[in-house]
Assembly symmetry: C2
Homo-oligomer: 364 residues x 2
Amino acid sequence: MRCDVPAEPGFRSAVSGLYRDEVTDTLASAGEAATLRRIFPRLPRAATALVGPGDDAAVVAAPDGRYVVTTDMMIAGPDFRWGWSSPDDVGWKAAATNLADIAAMGARPTALVVAIAAPPQTPVSTMEGIADGFRSACDALAPGCGVVGGDLSASEAFTLAVTAFGDLEGRRPVLRSGARPGDVVAIAGTLGEAARGLRALFALAVDDHGAPDASRAADVAARVPEVAVQRRPTPPIGAGVAAARAGATAMLDVSDGLALDAARLAGASGVRIDLSSGRLGDDPAGALAGGEDHALLACFPADASLPAAFRAIGTVTGSPAQAVPDGAGISGAQEVAARVSVDGRPYLGPSGWDPYAGWNGAAG
Amino acid sequence: MRCDVPAEPGFRSAVSGLYRDEVTDTLASAGEAATLRRIFPRLPRAATALVGPGDDAAVVAAPDGRYVVTTDMMIAGPDFRWGWSSPDDVGWKAAATNLADIAAMGARPTALVVAIAAPPQTPVSTMEGIADGFRSACDALAPGCGVVGGDLSASEAFTLAVTAFGDLEGRRPVLRSGARPGDVVAIAGTLGEAARGLRALFALAVDDHGAPDASRAADVAARVPEVAVQRRPTPPIGAGVAAARAGATAMLDVSDGLALDAARLAGASGVRIDLSSGRLGDDPAGALAGGEDHALLACFPADASLPAAFRAIGTVTGSPAQAVPDGAGISGAQEVAARVSVDGRPYLGPSGWDPYAGWNGAAG
């Protein structure tokens, strides 16, 4: 997903609505200890926490003898804009995107740790709102999952780094590398909607200088339902465990667009994937390019019963000459075209988002 | 620790030596996938990794049925300066400081996940150097511990977010809250040296405008041995497990100065601590104020044999009227004075570092 909108200009206004001059209850005035005391009670509790926040480290139960772990950052500017997202939205999305990576392993999310770096003039209420967002997301998407620890730091770039944990409950993890020719390719969750919501914000929720504008964003959100999908994604977290139980051979979280992520799965498995455009909704091109869907793409043996959350969208068609050992290594349009076809023809459309190629530090 | 030196001015020069115009092999030109392919082989392997980097999440063994987890951020500007630290130094320090938090629970470090947000014009070699630092630190401080996953993002503020894991090997975690009157207070590791090293850099390793200067830093490092302690701390990681085995009642990582961290331990335990200035080395005041020591402060029953790495520096003297339930809540000099005495007199010296009160976004 490209971020080719002009940055919210200047430092104070870069977080429009947050750094108003009248705000006096800031991180700098409250200090770290008082801020932590205000955040802790708002955070969701983890049922697996043996030692929670407040010590040098947390202790979490792993009854399975293993734990699943993933980490992801969200940064104001490249990844979200204060003019378009409330602190609660930001906490929700940071939780939801990490929970989706746990679900994509076939695991049940159990715990999060959250490190936040914020400018000292950030209102304490912003941190409270983020904590509320984490609680809402865990309660809605992964009940029993909670925040077991964290860290507060100072930075000019408002940054959230979330690490999420999951329990495999005795099952094998569902990797990207297990797809086999003949498998059914299926999806749980939305495709293309989050990207459509972001395009609406880029096009319509900016001020006369092209910078994110909160009041216009409210108008756009009222008219374009996909804006809510962009701001507060609801990945089908429970579908991850359901897929594992149904015998999924491979699975991943679709975060960078269906075509690119399908190519990653195919590359890791040493196979090719053919998708049916007729099963990709009203806007197949938008579904294929997408971005930030946080849907679950899974492969199942042809004779498996798909879990209720999944719908078939294609098939695993066979091995290309050369397997790619590491699914993270798919980077170019050629590789995507070699791995993914649509209605039998190589996919040649736009694919994927690279955090470095796709972002301009000066322009946001 | 205050960061009251002028910032390395401007964005390109803020990472002096890294963003020279002739550098063409950058994150933006290489892209995420190629960068990951170059970093992965340099990272330390974790003996406990069942599924390592490259999938949606890692899977790590927890034979104990529990895992210890901590997270911490390091940000260019507030936490380190490229003019004073090489990429290898930065990786080493990010690993070492997180390993110390695991050790402070009495656990053996097993695994790390590393999220890095970097400007797109960062040379790929910087990321390789950071990976080398992680490998060196794990090999030297916690053999068998390795990196099992991570994330790359774009940000104008170079940011590392590390989450570390540990194994309690069947033991109870050593919390901050278990100290009892009559216990011996002991320390493993250095006190005050890291802060002295940083003061030397602030005073002597800046250019005529007061900004960090790499060539002057090299001169200072050759003359002031404590600069190495600041750049590449060597916390006594193995001493954490040794303390737990010897029956430590409470322990923490001394990162914000001995006086403040002793007050946190005392507050969490509902006790007071008296330190002996004669046991704090040549510069007791420097040892008490300190900062970034990453020593382990532990309490032991009076009849325990101290592990070899520890030396006694005081005693737990009794309960004040009111216990503080959360050791993280100690924030003010009054609270420190109520909890910590030196040679029987309340400690009234400088104490501790607050990330928000102590940092000025404009001045670094």
